[in-house]
Symmetry: C2
DNA sequence: GCTATTAATAACTATTTGTTATCAATGGAA
DNA sequence: TTCCATTGATAACAAATAGTTATTAATAGC
């Protein structure tokens, strides 16, 4: 069975006339007769009833026609889509991100991407930074939005988003927007910091905020998740340092106090593998690099 | 693009090794190289990344593999199903029937047929006798259950069901099971008869019941549908002669009185075109002829 | 630096497909 | 009826396609 035979068959089902079908196929009638014959022989099924003066489909031929026409059309679609995939116009992109992205820049970016690239399917997963780093290197993720990536020869990156840090204190605390002037005021408190298991960098960044203020923080708990930290703070189990944007998406009984005059900011970086062969990725990156200028 | 090339492609996606794939395909490595190359050239898309030491799929190749594997499998299924259709083991049968069948033999028959021929799809339509007769001749119906078919050279038939006729009178009538002895008692009444538009035969059959009793009926209404006749009787617009089985399926305020000592019975005949090429039909008929002995 | 392994290429052969010429069957016209 | 035009099948041959063998260039591992 060959595709050519199926195409010949389909043409013959249209005309029900060997000579005319052959003409439309730019071959000669005996060639068509031979191919149809060999198709029937291979299937072991008579597809046409030829009564010297009239050609018509057998019931099996009718069924075969109907199904083969569908298959043939599908194959043509796949052919075209494959070409789109090769140019990157169609395809799949797997994206990982840390939790805070989903209440800052990410929704808008996804909206923009899906309307700019309607044939590219985005797969989104919230993950911790360390896991994303591994996944990008293994090729399991095409793109990751994470914090403070280390250097790696084959990884490229660009800063996507930044915002100030806030000190998060329980609602019951005596500190508030007006009387909080410096981290020195909380030198004696215990802190909830990001765990080192999710990479040293983010942990060290927060540590350095305290160090810059002249003290080493006492650590009561460690957690990767901002929302966990918020609940711990609300329950007076320590203070936390979080990106300011968390204020808008929590109902925890806490207060966000912007930390004044510090060099550290919460930053989200997009990272990807320089050697990633996914052709959709470069299109996406071009779009992202154009659009996303770091904002407050 | 040829099926052979797609099969070669799929094999290569399995092994990702030209020599091994060629071996499994019982061809030699350069032949495989050439076919893959020509497939890629025709698509205009590189499907494999060959780095002298390692062969791997490009993203477009991955997409193509996934889709082609499905298409190939579907084609194989269709191939096998086509063979079943040719032997009649799979297929479609279009059946027409008059209304009374659906509360007598038909449900049981359908149950039996679908369990005996799970791959044959039955399409059922309630129709009037005249329309079915036309449809069977045109090949639009494979099988029809109807009343009193005329003779036709290319139509075969068999008696499927018979039952006695009942005289249907309004509930308010003075006639009942004990005092109704003969059609002569209702010689002066007006009758609801089947319309001639649905064939003379059934009309004439009922007429003959009256004639045998020595009178020509006065016709108040004509209708093809038993349920219509029942409503007319309930509203005292005439008497009707109907197959006894209607008694079990109506809530109309009427009485069914079996007509004693008459030669006429209500008969349902299965008819089909002797030249119908549908291979499923002969299987079905064999089953039907074995099972269905006319019952009272 | 050598060897073994891998895919590509070229030249040739075998197989498949298409073409031309012809036939047998059949429906319609004379 | 007889004849003719039309149709699909068949046979012999030509063209195109696919497969084989021999060889090469590249590279990973010893």
């Amino acid at each position: 069975m060959e595709l050519k035979q199926l195409d010949y068959f389909l043409m013959l089902t249209q005309t029900l006339h060997f000579r005319k079908a052959a003409e439309k196929l730019y071959i000669v009638q005996p060639a068509l007769s031979k191919q149809i014959k060999s198709l029937e022989a291979e299937l072991g099924v008579r597809l046409f009833e030829r009564s010297q003066r009239r050609v018509q489909l057998t019931p099996a031929g009718q069924y075969f026609k109907q199904e083969v026409a569908q298959i043939r059309q599908r194959l043509e679609e796949v052919r075209n889509l494959t070409q789109l995939v090769a140019t990157g116009e169609a395809g799949e992109i797997r994206i990982g991100y840390v939790g805070s992205c989903i209440h800052t820049f990410l929704p808008e970016m996804i909206t923009g991407l899906t309307s700019a690239f309607p044939h590219i399917q985005l797969y989104l997963s919230e993950m911790i930074t360390a896991a994303m780093w591994e996944s990008v290197l293994k090729g399991e993720l095409d793109l990751a939005f994470l914090r403070n990536p280390p250097f790696h020869e084959s990884i490229e990156s660009t800063l996507i988003w930044q915002e100030p840090f806030a000190l998060v204190v329980p609602e019951t605390s005596s500190l508030n927007e007006t009387n909080f002037r410096s981290m020195r005021q909380v030198a004696g408190e215990s802190f909830i910091l990001p765990t080192r298991a999710d990479g040293d960098a983010y942990h060290d960044l927060q540590w350095s905020i305290c160090e810059d203020a002249g003290f080493s923080p006492q650590v009561s708990h460690e957690t990767v998740h901002g929302h966990t930290a918020l609940q711990l703070v609300a329950n007076q189990l320590g203070l936390a340092i979080l990106p300011m944007s968390f204020r808008e998406v929590t109902t925890a009984r806490v207060r966000f106090l912007e930390i004044p005059r510090i060099r550290q900011r919460s930053e989200i970086t997009a990272v990807w593998d320089r050697h990633n062969p996914n052709p959709s990725l470069s299109r996406l990156l071009k779009f992202i690099l154009e659009k996303s200028l770091p904002t407050p």
